[in-house]
Amino acid sequence: MRGDAGATLLEQWAVRLVAPIPRAVDAITGSVEHAGEGMRRREELEAETVRLHARIETLERELIRLRNVEEERDQLAAALEYTPQVPGRLRPAQVVYIDHSSTLRTLILFCGGSPARVDQPVLTPDGLVGRVILVAGSYAKVQLLTDRAAAVSAVIVRTRRQALVRGGTESLELDFVPVQAAVQVGDRVITAGTDGVYPRGIAIGTVSKVLAGGELFRAITVTPAVDFAHLDRVYLLENEPVPKELMEASPRARP
């Protein structure tokens, strides 16, 4: 029997039953860590305050710059009568369990009151983490970008060359880049927004290795922008999904 949340009802119920235990452990270990933080010395706290003030100033300057860029973009869009895609809202979610053991890597999230949606993108401030593959009440199972079965349509920022990012054991692989395409180590890779799941412009990673590969395509390795070993809090992107009917419609189905 299949539920409407991306998996069998048995799996959904199993996640509902089992996931509260990792969440409880996470809450307990979190409180222990916070208790340790609470016992820091006054000098350390003062130094941290100074550091945070400096960081706020930098971020405020960056915010002003980005607002100017946004205004400029809106003006250009208005002149061209172009409607840019509305960026989604970010909703925080708590990571309660990460599976590091298998090559198919997942994590379990606690999303709070409103449940997640299957295929909803999951991010951190550094970049893309993965997508929701199963929803069970307040919990959601996420397929990480490093999962061998994960694939994201991507674009190399410098050259605008489109490609496909696939999960690898330690890093990511950038597929379908022809041998004649210009790619170099250090090139930034972002989502292309053409797979119907991830919106455009989310950081995926940086090209770390470019090999000749086969006759047609290069073998390119990408280092993820996100440090998957230190995932604590992630964000669910509340964007409007591409309607399923549009995604599944084929030319033959039309009259």
Partner: protein, 170 residues
């Protein structure tokens, strides 16, 4: 009573597994506590109990794993049944024998998981041999420790019961 023991065993395994992963993220590569519970349950010798215990343990493991749901459930069901059938024919009562049985059960589980991956998904790279062997030995060692501990507790309880019975007779 037996079902309750399996449920409590799985709950304890889940708790230790989650705490273990928090402290040492690579723990599941080197220790499968759910399989230990399934095999210890199957050592009781009942085929049906071994089979059902294996299914339950595997499905709990599947919930936390990124594999297709049911892979561990299927593999541990086969392992539970195989161990129960072996326990009907062999005398597996010493910790050393338990260690060897659980180690072999871990290797059987890996073989079934690889076969399932080849049949139903992209098999990817085969698992590294060293972590699998370490897991087989670690699973066996944990199972042997638990086995000898429960045997001692059972023995102590039996001695207390006999003493009580002797007092009642007097």
């Amino acid at each position: 009573m037996r079902a309750l023991k399996v449920v409590l065993g799985l709950a304890a395994a889940l708790l230790v597994h989650v705490i273990g992963v928090w402290a040492f993220p690579a723990l599941p590569r080197y220790l499968d506590l759910f399989l230990v519970v399934a095999v210890l349950n199957a050592l009781g010798g009942s085929s049906a109990a071994g089979l059902l215990g294996g299914t339950a343990a595997g499905l709990v493991h599947d919930t936390l794993s990124g594999r297709l749901y049911g892979f561990h459930g299927f593999a541990d069901t086969i392992v539970g049944y195989a161990v129960a059938r072996a326990a009907q024919r062999l005398d597996i009562a010493r910790p050393g024998a338990v260690l060897v049985t659980v180690a072999l059960a871990t290797l059987l589980q890996q073989a079934v998981l690889i076969a399932l991956a080849h049949l139903f998904t992209d098999p990817g790279e085969p698992p590294e041999l060293v972590p699998v062997l370490v897991r087989a030995v670690a699973d066996g060692a944990v199972a042997a420790l638990l086995w000898s501990f429960t045997t001692r507790v059972r023995g102590a309880r039996e001695r207390v019961r006999r003493k009580r019975m002797a007092k009642i007779r007097l």
